[in-house]
Each structure stands twice: as C-alpha cells, then as structure tokens.
Amino acid sequence: MKLEILGPGCVRCQRLAENTKAAVAALGLEADVVKVEDIATIMSYGVMATPALVVDGQVRLSGRVASAAEIGQLLTA
C-alpha cells in the first residue's frame, strides 16, 4: 500500500503524517508513507486544500487533519 501525504510542509501536514503513521502501525499494515511537497504533484491529484491523504493514487481526504482512528477505518474499508 502506498500512502502519500500532500502538503507544502505546514504544521497540519506534519500532524496528518504522524496520525497516518500511527494508524499504519496500529493496524500492522505494510505501507510506504511518503510526504509530497511538490506543488505540481499535489495539483496532479486535483487537491486544493492541504493537507491531503492519497491512498494508492486515490485522494481519500483533503483539507483537514483526520485522527489516527479515522484513517485506520479509511484504510481497512
């Protein structure tokens, strides 16, 4: 599974990355968590509100920091 955190490097993006890593660890998933700060890549996903979470190429969350529990539900759904 490939997880991308989109955001220009603000505090909220940092927090989303931490929550995502926590969710991955809690579920025991094997996943790459990558932070994407390049604007062109962020735009290629059509995201206008950062931070955003992309799971295997699909935008699943944007514009808010989700809790680790919510991300966990989203990853197992």
Partner: protein, 368 residues
C-alpha cells in the same frame, strides 16, 4: 515508485479483524440522535448559564475577593481582565463551533464550481462572500489559487476570494463583537467585503493575467477527490475539531492581548491618545497600515488592545485600517503567493488592497 505491498497476513484477515472491532467502537463513539440532541441542548444551557454569571462573578472576584476599588487604576484594570477574558472565550467557543459546522457545507471544490466561468462583478461579489464561509488556510493559498485559475475562475474573482477569506475570519469577528460592539463589527465586515469586491474587480480590469508565473498554466490539475456527503454527527465533530484547533492556537494571544488592553484601560488617562491617534493626525491611517502588515496572525491579540485604544481617544477609521492591515495583508502570505505571482502582480495586489484600506480609514475618520 514502489509497488503496493500487501500486508503480511492476508488483506482479508486484516479487514475482518477491523470489522470485528467495529460495532463496539461505534457504540462507544456514536450516541443515538436523541441523546446527541439532549447533550447539545445541555451544552447550550450551560453556556448561557456561564455567560449570565460572568458579570456578577467578576464583580465579586475583583471587589470582594481582591478588595479593589472600581475607580482605582488597578481596580479598573483587573475588573476589565476578569470580565472580558471569560466572556471572549465563551463567545469564541460558540462561534467557532457553529462556523466549523457551517464550513462542512462549503468545500473549496464546491466554491470553485460556483465561481468557474462566472462573469466579473457578479463573480467578485460571490467570491468575496464565499471567502467568509469556505475553509481557508494561507498555507494552502497556492494550490487553491492554481485550482481556481486553471478551472476558469477569472483572476480578479480569485483575488476577491483571496482577500476576503483571511480578512473576515471568525476569530476577528468574535473579538470585535465581544469587545468593541456590533456596530463596529458590521462596519468591519461590510467595508472588508467592499474592499475584497472592488480590489478583485480592479485587478481583473487591469488584465494582469500575464503576470501570473507561466508554470501555473502548464500544471496539470487532476480531477481530485469527490467530496463525500458528511453525516450530521461528522459535521458536529468537525465543529468540535475546529474549536480544539482554533481556540488551542489563539488563546495565548487573546489572554496576552486582554492583559495589555486591561493595563491601558486602567492606567492610560482618558483622551491621552486623541492627539497622536485621533482624527487630526493625517498620517495616522497610512502609519496604521504600515505597522499592521508585519503583525500577521495576531488579530486575536491585537483586537483587545485596539479596543482599549478606542476608549482612550484613538480615531475609529485609523483603528479599522490597522485591523484590516493585520488580517488582509500578511508578509508570510505574500511570500507564499510569490511562487505563483510575478512581482508586478504581487505589488498590484498589495498596493490596491492597501489603498482600499487607507480609503476606508480616511472615510470613517471623516464621517464619525
């Protein structure tokens, strides 16, 4: 990049394990609708109760507990602080909660769809108003700008949005409402909207499209997420998250600001500032704008101070101009926007907004 790696057991097992947990977790977290309504009602009642109690409580604390005379310097400063601090926080929690819920109905995607291909004038008015309710953070100003411009929102309309969104924010409105009063709040919101509409319209008329960095037009914008309809409990939770995030961030500035305001309130003599910050000083308005620009994101701390200055003879127009410069013109946002705007356009944006703010300042100094 790397290929999707399957989890070590089987994906089915992981999903099953998650499902087995699901019902318990749901029951613990999601109350039935009628309990939720009762809980909200109780919270509202507690809020009203607290709000009513603040005035007698602060009287009792300052007068009976500290034994301070209301007419003394320290007495009037302490009274101001112990009354205004809880009042502002109660207002802040309520308003941020409600706005947090309202904002779940306005995503940037929906706002963009409403604005795309819109004619100027109508578009400027709509964009300025949507700027108030659409969630916006200056850290995502660049993706938002590109997303708007590339989907056919006119440049001037995009600017109307970018000017109103940070200027008319819930924290500034609550503090103005709680500390200064509804009249000045209405003036601030009304003139703020006007500046956003007119500045955006002027930028559109100036045909500055070629001063947008050319790479912006070559970026390929993807389809994006299909924003899912949220359920009511999710919207309520978004309101609670907004309270935690926003109040958690601004509270030290507010307490600090009210403390300084309280000191001014108690110790600076009446009318002391009429000479330097009064109507007579022609340079007060531009000076207020220049001082306001570097004070980014401190609207929370500045409004309590501004309120105290108003009480000591500062002119309303200069004060309004100062607050608008603090919220609408911020150095960090300029630096962020420089990535997509060439210097000419950036300067035009800052210059036009600054002129609008100065005009508002002089207008109200002359009228009131």
């Amino acid at each position: 990049m790397s290929l999707p790696v399957l989890p070590a057991p089987s994906p089915g097992a992981a999903a099953e394990a998650a499902h087995a947990e699901e019902p318990g977790r749901r029951r613990a977290r999601r109350l039935p609708a009628r309990y939720r309504a009762v809980a909200l009602g109780l919270a509202a009642l507690a809020w009203v109760g607290l709000y009513v109690v603040i005035a007698p409580f602060s009287e009792w604390l300052a007068g009976d507990v500290f034994g301070l005379d209301a007419r003394s310097h320290v007495g009037s400063a302490v009274r101001f602080f112990v009354f205004e601090t809880p009042k502002v926080f109660l207002l802040l929690v309520a308003v941020v909660y409600v706005i947090g819920i309202i904002r779940t109905f306005f995503t940037p995607e929906r706002t963009r769809a409403l604005l795309a291909g819109r004619r100027e004038a109508v578009g400027n008015v709509l964009a300025a108003m949507l700027g108030i309710v659409t969630p916006f953070c200056s850290c995502s100003a660049v993706p938002l700008f590109i997303g708007f411009v590339e989907s056919g929102v006119p440049l001037g309309v995009t600017f109307s949005f970018l000017i109103s969104a940070p200027m008319i924010n819930e924290v500034a409105v609550v503090l103005l409402l709680g500390l200064v009063g509804p009249g000045v709040t209405a003036l601030y919101v009304g003139t703020g909207l006007t500046i956003a509409i007119v500045s955006g319209w002027v930028i559109g008329r100036l045909r500055l499209e070629r001063h947008v960095e050319s790479w912006v037009y070559s970026v390929k914008v993807g389809a994006g997420a299909q924003p899912r309809e949220l359920s009511m409990p999710e919207r309520l939770r978004a309101g609670a998250t907004a309270v935690r995030e926003i109040v958690g961030k601004v509270w030290p500035y507010i307490v600090g600001g009210i403390a300084i305001g309280a000191w001014i309130h108690g110790y600076v003599p009446e009318r002391a500032l009429a000479g330097i910050l009064g109507k007579g000083a022609w340079w007060a308005v531009p000076a207020a704008v220049l001082i306001g620009v570097p004070m980014y994101s401190n609207a929370a701390g500045i409004i309590p101070i501004v309120q105290a200055l108003l009480g000591k003879g500062a002119a309303l127009g200069s004060v309004l101009a100062f607050m608008m410069a603090v919220t609408a013109l911020s150095l960090p946002e300029m630096v962020i926007l420089r990535k997509v705007l060439r210097p000419r356009l950036l300067a035009a944006f800052a210059g036009i907004v600054a002129l609008g703010i100065i005009a508002v300042g002089y207008l109200f100094n002359a009228l009131l």
